[in-house]
Symmetry: C2
Subunit: 427 residues, 2 copies
């Protein structure tokens, strides 16, 4: 007998995929009790999917495993945009004479329409695959069901919903973007039990441990951009790169600095060096959100490259959605890269503003089992004296999808219920 699940996802899975893998490249897929043979092979496909982190954007990072007579004969993940999908890549790697009658496990339903390298469903049929096991289905109206119908028509056996909640978590930014059709905003912060992100002297680095940082850097690869408030740049000197995450290191994220009043003008040398990170050739492009008049006063070395975008906003804190959409459009046009997801890493004021404006679609919250005290840098509290009982839990309606202890920290992963990616979880 097994107790009814205590978490929507199986232990060890979250928005970062198989969380241990996001911390250590050598981590295995978690073994569950009970877990079927299909689920074991699908967990390998998820592990494989994670190899495409930061590489496949704007395509989802899909994993595929091909099994013949209980033995894995090939595994692969989505290649860079325009190149092979996971299924076709796996087909190309398998011994051709073993494909007839084999089973293909894939984390997202195979495409059936146009793909730059031909639809995967047709390739699977042509190779003689007898059975396809799918974790998550695709909510994209144009894509949904097309590939599955082709497979069915060709007599391929189909099994759906194998580790589907776990695959939806991994594919969350892609799936949620299909629904929301504008960039997905993910909060990330580390806090003590009394809700502090830093002490009153703005010291925060020590709140979460080194392996929580490795997982954070893994997430920086997964999402397209990292956004911080200017206060964080001035005080924490973040580099906003994925340097401490396990391999692969396909790319560093775009850096967005929110600086409506041009305070970067006062940045010291350490803050500038960290943000520019010139020693790192792969360091992501920088976007400044600042009015034009203020940018002209920025230190000269802040704007050396043509690929840096200065956004010229009408500063309107009541219209974040429009800002994120226009930022995403500008970025795509000028950089040829996509901004489907933005992780906001602080500070507490920016995160609280976004939360109160109902703009956070999801959050990674690292909780340290200790206390910090103080009167500043506290999540969900904007200014002293302005804190009525909020019941933000009910107003904002997050669902706790997964949690995972990482040494002395616990990361809680929450998603807005309105995105409805886990309808099987009771409200």
């Amino acid at each position: 007998m097994a107790v009814q699940r205590l978490s929507p996802l199986s232990y060890g899975y979250g928005l970062g995929g198989i969380i241990a893998r996001g911390i250590d490249a050598g981590a295995a897929a978690p073994y569950q009790n009970p877990m079927s043979e299909d689920e074991r092979f699908m967990s390998l496909a998820l592990l494989e999917a994670m190899e495409a982190v930061g590489r496949s954007s704007p395509n989802p990072s899909v994993g595929a495993v091909i099994v013949k007579d209980g033995v894995v004969i090939a595994k692969a993940s989505t290649q860079a945009f325009g190149l092979l999908h996971a299924e076709t890549m796996a087909l190309s790697l398998a011994p051709a004479d073993q494909l007839k009658g084999a089973t293909c496990y894939v984390t997202l339903e195979p495409c059936g329409g146009r793909a730059k390298q031909g639809p995967c469903a047709e390739a699977l049929i042509a190779a003689g695959i007898a059975r396809v096991v799918v974790a998550a289905t695709d909510p994209n109206e144009k894509a949904a069901g097309l590939g599955l119908q082709k497979l069915k028509d060709a007599g391929v056996q189909i099994t759906l919903d194998c580790l589907s909640a776990e695959a939806r978590a991994w594919h969350f930014p892609f799936l949620a973007y299909q629904t929301k059709k504008s960039p997905i905003i993910i909060g990330k912060w580390a806090q003590t039990l009394d809700g502090h992100l830093a002490d009153d002297q703005d010291n925060s680095q020590w709140i979460s441990g080194p392996r929580s940082r490795a997982y954070t850097h893994w997430l920086r690869q997964k999402y397209d951009a990292i956004m911080v408030g200017v206060h964080t740049v001035l005080h924490d000197h973040p580099r906003l790169t994925a340097r401490d995450s396990p391999l692969p290191h396909a790319r560093h994220p775009c850096k967005i600095v929110l600086d409506p009043s041009g305070r970067l003008e006062t940045a010291n040398q350490d803050a500038l060096e960290a943000l520019l990170d010139e020693a790192n050739p792969k360091s992501g492009p920088i976007v400044y959100w600042c009015t034009e008049s203020k940018v002209s006063r920025y230190p000269a070395n802040l704007l050396p490259y043509k690929d840096q975008i200065v956004h010229k906003p009408t500063i309107d804190f009541l219209n974040w959605s429009a800002f994120f959409q226009s930022l995403s459009d500008d970025y795509q046009q000028r950089m040829g890269r996509y901004l489907q997801s933005i992780m906001v890493e602080g500070g507490s004021q920016l995160l609280t503003l976004l939360m109160r404006s109902n703009q956070l679609d999801a959050a990674h919250i690292f909780v340290r089992a200790g206390f910090l005290g103080g009167s500043r840098n506290r999540i969900a509290h904007l200014h002293q004296g302005q804190n009525p009982s909020l019941n933000m839990m009910q107003r904002h309606d997050y669902r706790l999808i997964a949690s995972q202890q990482i040494d002395d920290d616990v990361v809680l992963e929450c998603v807005q219920k309105r995105l409805d990616l886990w309808p099987e979880v009771k409200a």
Copy 2:
């Protein structure tokens, strides 16, 4: 390859034992990856140990499983004080002709000295057990190693430290009491991410969900007493029984009400009915911590039974240790029951006082991924205006031993590092 452990304990284990079992009587032992055959049988022994919850005090709740040729032939747990220990009980249940050459898995090292029913080590030898696998060793100077030496001398093969961190968590109150030699104080509270245990109107019931409550009630069986401040009695009307925990229901805990200024005088009917819980014949005895002069003004029905103790303290908030020790001595003398462990369930002021006085040996902290706001009922904060940066995390030095998601909550289980029960965990 497996990632280096992210938590000191394997997933699913904590201070309450196999946490899912504390929530649902039908829960199986968690299956880990990788887990050896020894570990699988020991996890069954731990599951068995949990059957003695609330029954064996002041003996530890030990579990034993006897295995012959890879098959479990008997399992048992510690019986009531003075009756059989787990090992001898299991021996009595096994088919006698199968014991020769069998392996016995036991969660705590078998006793070798005097036990009311004879030392277990001798019984294991007499039965022909060939191998004994032990999870935790006994820190009690009188008991440690005696049984193991006897087994060794008789040629029984011994394997130590199988699931030992997990067994030490389950046996935590017993093991810590051997070291501390006075009652172990465990904090328990449910809070939002901004550190609130209730809103400004003292509403708190909704913070954690029904399955977190089941686990809390399980813990109420495990610990000898529950302590609350009078404010909690007056506002929350707690019954302080283990009614919502899974079976077995061996006993309800003793209830300790901390009421230095005699505020129970003002209790309304609902508060009194809940505390006395007269419809429940098993409801635990009540201890009031109140000065004699104030008790005389208590409502008449608060003191109807001879087994209720009115403690007459010199109210000294600087000497909690002496209070707990004298309470434990009085209780043992008058009730013939032991107070080796006391779980403090609130409110925020009492918990914060204990925490600041360095009196909490451990804590079960239920965190809800939401925000409440307000200016009162916040953990670690005593009074507005008196909250300098504390760095209580460093001052009090807790270790996060385990965490577990329970629906929309996550329970964090922390233990004082000075108790040194998990020395293998890096500091």
